[in-house]
């Protein structure tokens, strides 16, 4: 009888599955941009913070960093926050909602392979992150004279990709620890917001107590902010790769992949 089912159903090919991933990304994108609430949380916030910080900027320099322009600090800092908001925050809250509303369970009942669905969610998240990056860096360069050096583009790309990888996988993997979707925004911001204040996102933490700096150094938020600020720091002339920050992001990517796979191994029927 298994031969019967094989006769009825043409074999799916990997190419067709890749087509399904692209197909699903289109619908994930439509869903995302139509949901104003989530769009504000993840896409508009970073841009709003950028505008607020820019309005506070009166040509200050940062004395603890060899008097570099404040612009060259806060634009990459907010870019780091934007990456976290569009990937981690978006996916953690989004996955908790999909789980609680039974959408994950419904998707599991279709022939769409689970990996293809997750790949589409990640792909769609990547597009949102890219759009945010273009807006933040574009405004930063055009309006606030962000110091952009062609030589450091490889560093920018590597840091962005690794940061995205870490926060995307962590965002999906962390959904396990979110009890329900109503609590999700609170839980996720509780994980993120306190750390941003000791992680060079909003202001330089160079003069903070060593203990706080050590704590911040464990987590990937500071690594991403530092890595991106390294790229735009006019005192550096290389390809813009900050080895220590890359190492921390790489370790967290491994942790993220582990957590994500654990989440995905559980049958979605039992998750719900």
């Amino acid at each position: 009888m298994s031969t019967l089912s094989q006769r009825l159903i043409p074999q799916s090919t990997f190419r067709r599955d890749l087509g399904l991933v692209a197909w699903q990304i289109r619908y994930e994108q439509r869903s995302y941009w139509r949901n104003r609430g989530r769009g504000i949380f993840t896409f508009v916030f970073p841009i709003m913070f950028l505008a607020i910080f820019a309005s506070l900027d009166k040509g200050q320099t940062i004395s603890t960093r060899g008097n570099i322009a404040f612009n060259d600090f806060f634009v990459p800092g907010i870019l780091a926050y934007g990456v976290i908001a569009t990937t981690f925050v978006n996916l953690a809250i989004g996955t908790a909602i999909l789980r609680d509303q039974g959408i994950l369970k419904r998707m599991q009942g279709t022939p769409l392979p689970r990996w293809a669905y997750i790949a589409a969610r990640i792909g769609s998240t990547f597009l949102i992150m890219m759009a945010m990056t273009v807006v933040v860096l574009g405004l930063g360069a055009a309006v606030w004279g962000l110091d952009f050096r062609a030589a450091s583009v490889p560093g920018l790309i590597i840091t962005l990709l690794l940061g995205t990888a870490a926060f995307t996988t962590l965002g999906i993997g962390i959904a396990r620890f979110i009890p329900n979707s109503e609590a999700a925004p609170v839980v996720v911001n509780l994980m993120i917001l306190p750390l941003t204040f000791i992680s060079n996102i909003w202001f330089p933490v160079d003069s903070l107590p060593q203990a706080l700096k050590t704590i911040a150094g464990i987590f990937p938020i500071k690594a991403l902010a530092d890595g991106l600020q390294y790229v735009f720091d006019p005192r550096h002339h290389g390809v813009g790769v900050s080895g220590q920050d890359i190492k921390v992001l790489a370790i967290w990517t491994v942790v993220g992949i582990f957590l994500m796979l654990r989440f995905l191994q559980k049958p979605m029927g039992d998750v719900a």
């Binding site: 009888m1 019967l4 089912s5 094989q6 869903s31 509303q101 959408i103 419904r106 009942g109 039992d270």
Partner: protein, 320 residues
């Protein structure tokens, strides 16, 4: 039709001694049944009887602890994609992407299947034509349920699982849904239904099975379940003025009694009994008010089967 005639003897679902336990609790405790291709099979039972657990094992959402299960010849625990290509699932209370429209959702889910029905055909079948461009979050409860059905049908499945498909429907919408489900059977599709509504089971099901305490306690055609067809029928009428129960002629009956001014007769020969009573009344020009002849309903049988008795541990514990 063609599926049915090509593989006449094939079983859509085959379950042997199915077990599922959570710790020491046996949610499903040795269940066996078969569902033939092209039939509507209905699983009835009170909450906590193990219906949903059984269905979710067959749908591949849960793993069984013991026994054997085959769905379209495939083991649901390992069948995965080949099975999901041929099965449509309508779950209880299961969300959809709220910001996509009816058309977009059916189109999106359709693409997952190698074999798919045209989107507009499915929209028409589910009576959603007017809501085609409405976002899912703006649909009413009944419309959402019809969308659930549409999403289950878009892959042109051989077998459709319907878990309480008409909950929240108004009577008109239920009739519509029933005729949709009936029309699926005319296409040779198999339907596995769970419901709380006895009229739904009576109207739709070719066969029903009643579950209680993780076991199947009765199964058969709706009109034969629990010996329903062999039970005495009930004849009722108001006693005409100026007559007593003793004036009613002798009738072949299990029992006859008076309840207020109503005569209630239980008989295995309802046709003959009715004739005797009506002839008696007509000959004497008596008025027989509220005259009726009824068989026990499926609901009567169901309540009798699932009602409290020595086998029903849950009820016993609850009453202690």
């Amino acid at each position: 039709m063609n599926q049915k005639s090509t593989y006449p003897d094939e079983l859509a679902i085959e379950v042997r001694d199915l077990h599922k336990s959570y710790g020491s609790l046996a949610a499903v405790d040795g269940v066996s049944f078969e569902v033939r291709r092209g039939e509507v099979f209905c699983l009835l039972g009170p909450n906590g009887a193990g219906k949903t657990t059984t269905v979710e094992i067959l749908e591949g959402y849960r793993e069984r602890s013991g026994g054997d299960a085959r769905v379209l010849g495939i083991d649901p625990a390992t069948g995965d994609r080949a099975l999901r290509e041929q099965v449509g699932i309508v779950l209880q209370a299961c969300g959809v992407q709220p910001d996509l429209t009816v058309y977009e959702l059916i189109e999106m889910f359709g693409r997952y299947h190698v074999r798919q029905r045209p989107v507009d055909e499915v929209i028409e079948l589910a009576e959603l034509t007017e809501k085609r461009d409405t976002r899912a979050k703006a649909l009413s409860g009944g419309q959402r349920r019809r969308l659930d059905l549409a999403l289950a049908l878009v892959g042109d499945p051989e077998l459709i699982f319907l878990d309480e498909p008409t909950t929240g429907f108004d009577p008109h919408a239920r009739r519509l849904a029933w005729s949709t489900i009936r029309s699926l059977c005319q296409l040779g599709k198999t339907v596995f239904l769970t419901t709380h509504f006895m009229d739904e089971a009576q109207f739709l099901a070719d066969r029903v099975a009643v579950m209680r305490g993780g076991q199947i306690i009765a199964s058969g055609r709706p009109d034969e379940l629990g010996g329903r067809d062999l039970r005495p029928a009930e004849i009722r009428f108001a006693l005409p003025e100026g007559t007593g129960l003793g004036d009613v002629p002798e009738i072949p009956a299990e029992s006859r009694e008076l309840e207020g001014d109503r005569v209630i007769i239980h008989t295995r020969a309802p046709v003959r009994a009715a004739q005797i009573v009506t002839t008696w009344a007509l000959d004497r020009d008596l008025d027989l008010g509220h005259f009726s002849v009824t068989q026990p309903t499926l609901e009567d049988i169901y309540l009798e089967l699932t009602g409290p008795n020595e086998h029903n541990h849950e009820v016993q514990e609850a009453s202690l």
